[in-house]
């Protein structure tokens, strides 16, 4: 099943950018602040997609509740979407199945796709970052981004991934989060503010998992020193 959207992914894997050519009346739904540029005849409306209930559920998963709707009016229109962090972007075609996305990875989706943050069996909540997931379902296009490059892995039996590097995975895989003591930095390093719990996720079964090659936590710990201090303002 092919996409109904006419799109192109460029600048991969370092600064993945999505360009979509919308037909008249066609729409794309994107996360806040993702728009880099667009034709002047594309309208931008922000709202709570899917009604208040859906948005509240998504809000629990950590993504903002607001979704931007871009519609090409009076003719075709181009939209260029670029997320905040340097990293990759990929397209996934939903064919009635589900795609699990890590918090912050969602960029945009086409019509006939639903995104939610809560469903039966939602699990994996640990202290700190852990694994906070969104579920994309329906028949349509989903675009997701990463911090760093994305590597696609076909899991056949077991595969272990540090939770800070998980971007997305097909729901045909089962997953279990636990602490791998050898990787934990808790209690060892005084200046560690983010991450370091040593959390890993073991995937089992058959399916694809997309992992990113960088973790936001070390970046946050490093850039922390360059932040202005409250008394310096």
């Amino acid at each position: 099943m092919t996409s109904t959207l006419n799109f192109e992914l460029s600048n991969r894997p370092d600064f993945g950018t999505l360009t979509v050519q919308l037909e008249q009346g066609q729409q794309i739904f994107a996360e806040t602040s993702a728009m880099a540029s667009m034709d002047a005849n594309v309208s931008l409306k922000s709202g709570l997609k899917g009604g208040i209930g859906q948005s509240l559920m998504r809000g629990i998963a950590g993504d903002s509740m607001i979704v931007n709707t871009f519609t090409a009016e009076n003719g075709e229109g181009e939209v260029v979407l670029a997320p905040g962090p340097p990293g990759d972007m990929l397209h996934y075609q939903l064919t009635g199945n589900n795609l699990m996305l890590q918090r912050g990875a969602f960029v945009a989706h086409s019509d006939h796709v639903e995104i939610s943050g809560k469903w039966e069996g939602a699990k994996g909540f640990f202290s700190g970052q852990g694994l906070v997931l969104l579920k994309a379902s329906g028949t349509g296009d989903v675009f997701f981004n990463s911090y760093g490059a994305i590597i696609e892995v076909e899991v056949n039996n077991d595969y272990i991934v540090d939770t800070g590097y998980i971007v997305a995975f097909e729901d045909t895989l089962t997953y279990k989060v636990s602490v791998l003591p050898g990787l934990s930095l808790r209690g060892k390093i005084k200046s560690l503010f983010f991450g370091g719990e040593g959390l890993v996720c073991k995937f089992q079964g058959q399916g694809k998992v997309w992992i990113q090659t960088r973790n936001v936590n070390p970046f946050l710990n490093w850039i922390n020193l360059f932040r202005p201090t409250n008394d310096s303002k």
Partner: protein
């Protein structure tokens, strides 16, 4: 400068007179001292920018281009750098009051955060402020709301730059404000 052969000398000079240079320093965020690299013998010079991203080069043949502050990297001696008034609208959009005007004959190197892509604009085009790095002088710049009043603020887009062609524009595929906002969301 990242690295260079030892046969290259660096001389630092004020760019175009003290007063003009001071103005540039305070408003355009360009350091007003320019480093001039001269090779006594053949030598290699490696220049890089602060943020990761593409570096592009265009060759001017007597024409002019406008660059956003911070995008300028280097130029050949036949190029003159000047200050152009970008308008109050530009300041509101957080780009600063001035833009760098490069003109003359020779190569100009500029860099962006992310990938750089060029676009021939014919009529109207909308660019999120922070993504526009260079443009032809024939391009008209205007600030505007991204959507309706509600949408403009909640969309995260806020004010955008509306460009009017015909002319060429250069965009970068990431923005510093976008990176700062994303980082802040985790802190």
């Amino acid at each position: 400068m990242a690295s260079m052969s030892s046969s290259i000398n660096i001389a630092t000079r004020w760019n175009g007179g003290v007063f003009k240079a001071l103005a540039k320093r305070f408003f355009a965020n360009e350091s007003f001292f320019i480093n001039e690299f001269t090779a006594a013998n053949d030598g290699e010079l490696v220049l890089t920018q602060t943020f990761p991203g593409d570096i592009e080069c265009f060759e001017l043949t007597g024409n002019t281009m406008y660059l956003q502050p911070g995008a300028f990297l280097a130029c050949e001696p036949g190029i003159s750098l000047g200050l152009g008034w970008a308008g109050i609208a530009s300041y509101v959009g957080r780009e600063g009051l001035f833009r760098l005007k490069v003109s003359g004959t020779g190569k100009v190197w500029f860099g962006g955060y992310g990938g750089i892509f060029e676009k021939e604009v014919e009529a109207d085009y909308v660019v999120d402020t922070g993504h526009l790095i260079a443009y032809d002088p024939t391009i008209g710049i205007k600030m505007g709301l991204a959507g309706g009043l509600f949408s403009s603020f909640f969309s995260g887009e806020g004010l955008v730059t509306r460009v009017k062609g015909p002319g060429k524009i250069y965009l970068q595929s990431r923005s510093l404000d976008g990176l700062a906002a994303w980082t802040n969301s985790h802190l």
